[in-house]
Amino acid sequence: EAGVTQFPSHSVIEKGQTVTLRCDPISGHDNLYWYRRVMGKEIKFLLHFVKESKQDESGMPNNRFLAERTGGTYSTLKVQPAELEDSGVYFCASSQDWRVHVRNTEAFFGQGTRLTVV
């Protein structure tokens, strides 16, 4: 069974440019999450999709970030225009059940996309 896949694994862009990150969740997982880790800091929640709907956007830092999940399958996270402080590792996760504390539910994470804005 394929895990959560993220593309690209690494991206270096200049300040002001646009970058789009992609996440392919595990097939059949309705729930998809984006997290971000700024260097040396904790991994922080960005948002949560249930199928194609944004269930929770409370962690999105500002309107330069746009997440989509057309058709409820893969998701993209676009940063436009990118700023230096957007550098970090962006993780995607997926799960069958949205309640992470449910015993039989596990959130599966991808390997992350390392974004460097110069």
């Binding site: 904790e42 962690g59 993780f91 992470v100 994470f109 992350g112």
Partner: protein, 113 residues
């Protein structure tokens, strides 16, 4: 507000030695606690989780963690470390709403021969 503290940024242990990674949490109710590991080039992998009941939780790869409510801690342990355990370890608490984790800053583990 929920928060997780991992006081050790980096730990180095010898192969075969015991390991304990510290995690303290701040949470207003019964916490749902997790340990994840990220090996180089890999995604975050769940090691173990605590919801209720027995405070000593067994996980994969020989890891265990003990929930101590009085100390607000959920330390991860392994009796004998293998070179393949070199990775970054993250402690996390699940929210009441259930849809997100609060992670600590991570502990990077180096294993020396």
């Amino acid at each position: 507000a929920q928060s997780v503290t991992q006081p050790d940024i980096h730990i180095t242990v010898s192969e075969g030695a015991s390991l304990e990674l510290r995690c303290n949490y701040s949470y207003g109710a019964t916490p749902y606690l997790f340990w994840y590991v990220q090996s180089p080039g890999q995604g975050l992998q769940l090691l173990l989780k605590y919801f209720s009941g027995d405070t000593l939780v067994q996980g994969i790869k020989g890891f265990e963690a003990e929930f101590k409510r009085s100390q607000s801690s959920f330390n991860l342990r392994k009796p004998s470390v293998h070179w393949s355990d070199a990775a970054e370890y993250f402690c996390a608490v699940g929210t009441l709403r259930g849809n997100q984790f609060y992670f600590g800053t991570g502990t990077s583990l180096t294993v020396i021969p």
